[in-house]
């Protein structure tokens, strides 16, 4: 009996050994490769080291941004049971609820650190470091963020970095990015993100089970992103911001010969430093809900009737189409009658006899009613659209959608309004009122093309970029010269509407304009005041800079917009360099 049962026991032992052997064979032989890989993944960790971002310079090589370390605080999940959540919330300056949310999330894996807060500065980090021993598993990581040296100045152009959004992560180019990566989200930072970004480095390290780094296995240096030299001049931007003061509006300055944007301000602006480390939702909401709309890019997105600045188009069309000679005079008695309506000139007493030069210098409306009537709306439409109006200029500034403005025509009216065109509407269009609307950037492009003899370039923010010629619309030299002289007269002659733009540094030419605000009553300086336009260029002989200034509720262009243009142009020619800027340029 005993021996028999020992025999059975022997077979039981052998059978169990066979079973164990099969199991080992299954693990080591059949799945050996899989487990080998898993053990490698266990001990090797790839750490991406962020690449320094390319620096953004202005056209005079003044750096506009600085790379700064931004810190984030994370915690190893295996330690969270040991943490005094209240105390942690206090030193991180976040609510206990937020901590509870992050700690008790269901999908927390037990080995992936939980990110608690991003975008901390040196002071906050040193506070945390000082108390780190109270919070086992807490650690600080460094990322590369941005400091925007000039703050609000140029904020709309430079833009900012922000946390990658869930939608962006779906983009195949960005899919390898960590979920909290900072990428360009606005302006140049966003537009040229892939170039500025550089290539992150990689450190392959061996770690133990608690994530302690034991040894460096492989190292690849991060490659810095490409620098970008912008066409904008921060000195102009600064002068513009200063001279606008509290007023809202925008300024766009381009180089007539290439389309390079020398300055683009939209005011009020926002400080990109607010976003630099991933914006707090409260700040973001405050900016979005601000009644002054700082996030609106007024240079690209506000469209208004260009007012008398449009007379440049009417004048060119009239001369080129030879509906009038430069010397021919029109008598202005203060208005003309048409049917039961009267179309007045802004000068109640009238200008008397005016030729083209005087009509532009003194901005006589009646003169342009007359030539507008001779031209007809469709010829005005042809010149306006050929010189860049009524269509997007093609300037790109993520995520801004540029508006296209409107240049009416008989066809447009028939198609969109199902109505025929009336002469009275031609009168209005001739002086830039009525249906006509433009954006500041369109007006700058238009002026640039008038000055360069009819070449319409896509405005660009990159210095010395190959000009992108959209259209070449020949304007005769004689017309060009006549218009330039007249626009110079606007600023420099007695009776000119923009005497306030007269400069001792350079000879400025320009044209004022007023976009009427439809309103019930007018209160001086209030929000029912008209919008002021001023287009300007300098020097009159061989212009280097052409610009549009638009001041919301600025009243008459000559009074509010022209001085701003003058300051901007002088800033361009003076090119003063502060010590700080020289210092920055060196670094």
């Amino acid at each position: 009996m005993f021996e028999k049962r020992i025999k059975i026991a022997t077979w039981v032992v052998i059978a169990i050994f066979v079973l164990l052997g099969v199991r080992i064979w299954h693990l080591q032989i059949i799945n050996g490769d899989k487990y080998r890989l898993m053990s490698e993944n266990n001990r090797l960790r790839i750490i991406k080291t962020p690449a320094p971002r390319g620096i953004i310079f202005d056209r005079n090589n003044i750096p506009l941004v600085k790379n700064i370390p931004v810190f984030s605080v994370s915690i190893n999940p295996e330690n969270i049971s040991l943490i005094d959540r209240g105390a942690l919330a206090e030193i991180l300056a976040i609510s206990v609820d937020e901590i509870n949310d992050k700690f008790d999330k269901k999908d927390n894996s037990s080995f992936v650190p939980i990110k608690l807060k991003q975008g901390l500065g040196f002071v906050e980090v040193s506070k945390i470091e000082a108390r780190k021993s109270d919070f086992p598993g807490l650690f600080v990581e460094t990322e590369i963020g941005r400091e925007y040296i000039y703050g609000k100045t140029g904020g709309h152009v430079i833009g900012y970095l922000g946390k990658i959004t869930p939608d962006q992560i779906k983009n195949p180019e960005l899919k390898n990015f960590p979920p909290d990566a900072l990428i360009g989200q606005w302006g140049i930072e966003a537009l040229y993100d892939s170039s500025l970004r550089g290539t992150p480095g990689e450190r392959i390290i061996e770690v133990d089970a608690i994530g302690r780094e034991l040894r460096l296995v492989q190292h690849r240096q991060a490659v810095k992103g490409n620098d970008i030299i912008l066409s904008i001049d921060i000195n102009i931007q600064h002068a513009v911001e200063e001279s606008f003061g509290e007023k809202a509006g925008s300024l766009v300055a381009v180089k007539p010969s290439t389309g390079e944007i020398l300055a683009l301000e939209s005011l009020p602006s926002f400080d990109p430093n607010l976003f630099a480390s991933g914006v707090m939702s409260a700040d973001w909401r405050a900016l979005i809900e601000d009644k002054k709309k700082p996030m609106l890019n007024r240079a690209l997105q506000s469209q208004y009737p260009p007012g008398s600045t449009f007379k440049i188009i009417t004048a060119i069309a009239a001369l080129e189409e030879k509906v009038i000679t430069p010397e021919a005079k029109v008598y202005c008695s203060g208005g003309i009658s048409f049917g039961k309506w009267t179309f007045g000139c802004w000068k109640k007493g009238g200008h008397g006899s005016v030729n083209l030069h005087k009509a532009l210098v003194e901005s006589c409306d009646v003169y342009f009613y007359e030539v507008g009537k001779r031209l007809g709306i469709d010829r005005i439409h042809k010149y306006a659209t050929s010189l860049g109006l009524g269509q997007p200029t093609g300037v790109s500034l993520y995520p801004i959608k540029e508006r296209s403005g409107l240049i009416p025509s008989t066809i447009w009216k028939k198609e969109k309004r199902k109505q025929q065109w009336y002469l009275g509407e031609t009168y209005n269009a001739s002086i830039g009122q009525g249906y006509v609307t433009t954006t500041p950037v369109q007006m700058a492009v238009m002026l640039a093309s008038v000055l360069n003899g009819g070449n319409v370039y896509t405005p660009t923010f990159i210095k010395d970029a190959t000009p992108n010629l959209v259209r070449s619309f020949k304007i005769s030299d004689a017309t060009s010269r006549l218009v330039k002289e007249a626009l110079s007269g606007v600023v420099n002659e007695a009776g000119g509407t923009a005497r306030s733009a007269h400069s001792s540094i350079t000879i400025i030419g320009g044209k004022t304009g007023t976009a009427q605000v439809v309103s019930k009553g007018k209160e001086a300086g209030g929000r029912f005041n008209d919008h002021a336009w001023f287009v300007a260029f300098a020097p009159v002989e061989n212009p280097e800079i052409a610009m549009t200034v638009f001041v919301e509720h600025g009243g008459h262009g000559g009074a509010t917009a022209a001085p701003i243009a003058k300051k901007a142009i002088e800033a361009y020619f003076k090119k003063p360099k502060t010590e700080q800027q020289k210092q920055n340029a060196k670094n």
């Binding site: 005993f2 080998r36 266990n42 133990d208």
Partner: protein, 374 residues
Amino acid sequence: MLKIDRRLIKNFDWVTFGLILAITLIGIATIYSATRLPVEGMDGSQPDFYLKQMLWLCISIIALFAVVMIDYVWFYRLAYIFYAIGLILLIAVLIAGKSSLGAQRWLNLGFIAFQPSEFFRLAFIMAFSSYLVNKNLYERIPLSCVFVFGIIPLFLIILQPDLGTGILLISLFVILSVMRGLSRKIITLAVIVSLISIPFLGHIFWENMKDYQKNRLIAFADPEVDPSGIGYHINQSKVAIGSGSFIGKGYLKGTQGPLRFLPEKHTDFIFSVFSEEWGFLGSMALFSLYIVLFLRGLDTAKKAKDEFGKLVATGIVSMFFIYFLVNTGMTLGIMPVVGVPLPFMSYGGTALLSNFVAAGVLINIRTRRFELFY
């Protein structure tokens, strides 16, 4: 009582001795590898676990020879006294025990801390065997027997709680009863009764278990739930063994242990470390040592000159085998995580000593198989 004669030397079971010595030396080498610093030249020095184990090996060998020299008839005569002492120690550990991982198992005698259960299991085998020698279990198991050798010790072990020893005691009780000649009828009945009572006993066990023990069972039943990362540890053990592939990563080349992905790398999970470095070939070689040890032990049981010897030998082999199975089964991920050491391999001085003493008894029985009672 001590009797050294030529026959003792001539008949000494060098095979069993050689096997356990070989396994222990492999164990020491593996302990060295498992506890080595992950990177050479790192701060800190090689922990001295392997040296301590060597020291314990020397003590254990001396103890083994001492045990072999005592005629095992004395174990028969003193079995009940051993057993009584064992029970008292178990009670003592409940009152004054040192806690480790939430279970009271250790008794600190000032100069040495040891687990009374390590002594108790051997006393149990001897006492139960000497009881069975004089009883005919063919028809029925007396209630007193069940009480003295079943319920009382199990109760004390459950209180600690010590799942590993509990499993061992139940198994030994069954195995020895069966080997003593329990009829098929009773065996069948017992199987049915135990199947019915498992939920009930399981409940008692469950209520007494510490959280970590509950977690282990949960993790085994459903690794996805994984209340405390135990499933992760089982998985890491599988990764360690699996990554060894056919020939292993090579001695001192394993990563799972030194980098601490394996818990208890030099004790409960020592087989994972060994298998990672030596692969399928090494594992099979190690298993061969064990299988020869067990079969040799069973052969000893068969050849023992008396009933007591047969039962004690069976009990000791069963003990080794159950620990071996529960331990390797755990590291291979086919059994729940029950913290039992791999006999002779795992780090642990008193465990090594107690295993050598048990092996000494086994050798003793084989060595004296031709002797007659004096």
